[in-house]
């Protein structure tokens, strides 16, 4: 996760979900909110799922992504965002 926090696009996505923890969105939606290219966002989302920062809700028509529920991960992200504000 530390590596992902250093990438601008990953960090933007993490910030978005940290600020909107009830959100579930598609790659297209997330790309709109973070103002990045959809293809890059799609890849970054999958990286974040692998790092267990996001949860993927996969269906045949699309995949929805939501924020982790793991309190330790959330606390770690909170600390990082505060330090780098």
């Amino acid at each position: 996760m530390d590596k992902l926090l250093k990438s601008s696009i990953h960090l933007k996505i993490i910030k978005f979900f940290h600020e909107n923890q009830a959100s579930i969105d598609t790659p297209r939606g997330v790309a709109t909110w973070v103002g990045e290219d959809k293809t890059k966002v799609r890849k970054a989302l999958e990286d974040l799922v692998s790092a267990k920062v996001l949860v993927a809700h996969r269906a045949t028509s699309t995949t929805g992504y939501s924020y982790t529920r793991d309190e330790n991960t959330i606390a770690k992200i909170e600390k990082y965002l505060k330090m780098n504000r």
Partner: protein
């Protein structure tokens, strides 16, 4: 409340004004014309004398040198001119006790006055042209700042709603993409837990007598073991939500009824992760979620009904056909199981597996065109008779072509007598040209024909039939299907079901 909002607006406006690059540049430009000059801002429409004193102490270089009395006079001059600007809502000039000059500009929006911006400490009187330039500049800067603030407020208000709307849209897409209730209900439960950041969700549907709520999906993210409890309508939060047809909210629970034309069930969420009570906003979100969930659940229920109807029609058709040659068309459950298990093992998608199930029942339906004498002939068929037999896949397709639900079944029926090496019928297709469903059906139907009673063939036992299939791998049958078939047939559960059905 309005006053609080106004105060918040005022504070934010001044925060932005103080950071405004435009204002800094203006002060630099006008400052050149008024040199030397000191600038100040009073952040109140109706400032108290204390506010003025604070301003003066911050900017006036004479303040610390003055005697207290002189300072007070200075503050009074400024207070007086601010009052004048407040009343006239126009720029007001003044001379301070040191004989220095300055002016006060009231910051307005429409009729509302928010504060003042001013300058002093100028040795000569401020020319009217400079005041006009300052006024025009400041008006523009204040208007720009106000617009920026309003846009930012609008963004702050709209963005969370747009994000919530996008979430609702995504949830709608996720739950509409399945028609399988066993997949749909846990998905709705998980998404509800995610949206409300809660720990437990239970979905209950009402029974046919409309007296009891039957648990259909319960997810508790804190434990793997969940108790599925029936609830009587009218009892506890879920029962009450159903009885009264409205959400029931408590500190640690939120039950929202699933209402179509009538109440069909309830979604109950328990225990927020942050341990906060459920809010009216949660209730609003869950009600929207329930509205979408009920449509998806009804669609899935209708699809299931439709499916039952289709399979019922197929079975009836198979029974009618079976009257011509008893034991030939009504498939044995174990053969269906084998066909489906091969499909699953070969990772076919859900729709293809369903098609395989229908095809397993109907693959020889076209034999209805074969005359009874040919169908039951115990000896070898003549060339003419064999030509008639070879027509049955096409006849089978003709038979079901008007049933739209069976469209995906037709390639399996049409090509299940094709051989892997291209020597089969009706088209002589080979290898991958033959649809995978038809290649699976070729193995299963040949196996079935070998071990069940047929007028033209001596029954083989299971092992003999399996050997025969193996021998024809690569010629009659797809080798990959044969490998999977052998693995399936050696499974204990399949073997037992087959033996029980065949030999009792």
């Amino acid at each position: 409340m309005k006053e609080i909002n106004n105060n918040v607006y005022q504070k934010e406006l001044f925060d932005r004004l103080k950071k405004s690059i435009g204002l800094k540049k203006e002060q630099e430009c006008i400052g050149c014309l008024l040199k030397p000059a000191a600038w100040w801002i009073v952040e109140a429409a109706n400032p108290k004398i204390g506010d003025i004193e604070k301003t003066v102490s911050n900017i006036c270089p004479y303040h610390k040198k003055h005697a207290i009395g002189k300072n007070k006079s200075c503050v009074r001059v400024l207070f007086k001119v601010i009052k004048k600007a407040q009343e006239t809502k126009l720029i007001a000039k003044f001379d301070c006790v040191e004989g220095l000059h300055g002016f006060v500009y009231p910051i307005m929006q429409g009729d509302n006055l928010y504060g003042y911006i001013g300058t002093c400490y100028r040795k000569k009187d401020v020319p009217a042209e400079v005041i006009n330039i300052f006024s025009a500049f400041t008006d523009t800067i204040v208007r720009e700042t106000q617009k920026e603030l309003e846009l930012s407020k609008l963004y702050e208000t709209i963005r969370p709603r747009a994000i919530a709307l996008s979430t609702v849209h995504t949830v709608h897409r996720l739950i509409s993409s399945t028609l399988d209730l066993n997949e749909l209900l846990p998905r709705i439960a998980r998404l509800s837990l995610q949206i409300l950041r809660a720990n437990r969700c239970s979905i209950k549907l009402i029974d046919s007598k409309r007296k009891t709520l039957l648990p259909k999906s319960t997810i508790d993210l804190r434990t793997k073991k969940v108790r599925l409890k029936k609830v009587r309508v009218g009892k506890y939060a879920p029962g009450k939500a159903v009885k009264f047809g409205r959400p029931i909210r408590g500190r640690d629970f939120l039950a929202v009824p699933l209402i179509d034309e009538d109440v069909i069930g309830v979604i109950t969420i328990y225990d927020k992760i942050d341990k906060k009570p459920f809010s009216s906003f949660d209730q609003e979100i869950m009600s929207t979620m329930a509205e979408q969930a009920v449509i998806a659940i009804k669609n899935a229920q209708l699809y299931k009904e439709q499916e039952k109807l289709t399979i019922g029609s197929i079975k009836s058709l198979a029974k009618v056909l079976d009257t011509r040659a008893p034991g030939t068309y009504v498939p044995r459950a174990s053969f269906l199981k084998i066909a489906l298990a091969i499909g699953q093992e070969m990772r076919l998608d859900t729709e293809s597996i369903k098609s395989l199930e229908y095809a397993a029942i109907l693959h020889d339906a076209g034999e209805i065109v074969i005359p009874y004498e040919v169908l039951t002939k115990p000896s070898k068929l003549t060339g003419k008779e064999y030509a008639i037999v070879k027509e049955h896949p096409m006849a089978g397709v003709e038979l079901i072509k008007h049933m739209k639900a069976l469209k995906s079944v037709t390639p399996i029926i049409l090509y299940h007598h094709e051989n892997y090496d291209g020597t089969g019928y009706p088209k002589g297709l080979k290898k991958d040209q033959i649809p995978i469903g038809a290649r699976i059906m070729a193995v299963v139907s040949a196996f079935e024909a070998m071990i069940t009673k047929r007028p033209y063939r001596i029954i083989k036992n299971i092992d003999e039939a399996v050997d025969e299939i193996k021998r024809n791998s690569g010629t009659q049958f797809d080798p990959s299907v044969v490998v999977t078939f052998i693995a399936i047939i050696n499974r204990k559960d399949i073997r037992q079901a087959l033996e029980k059905e065949l030999y009792g």
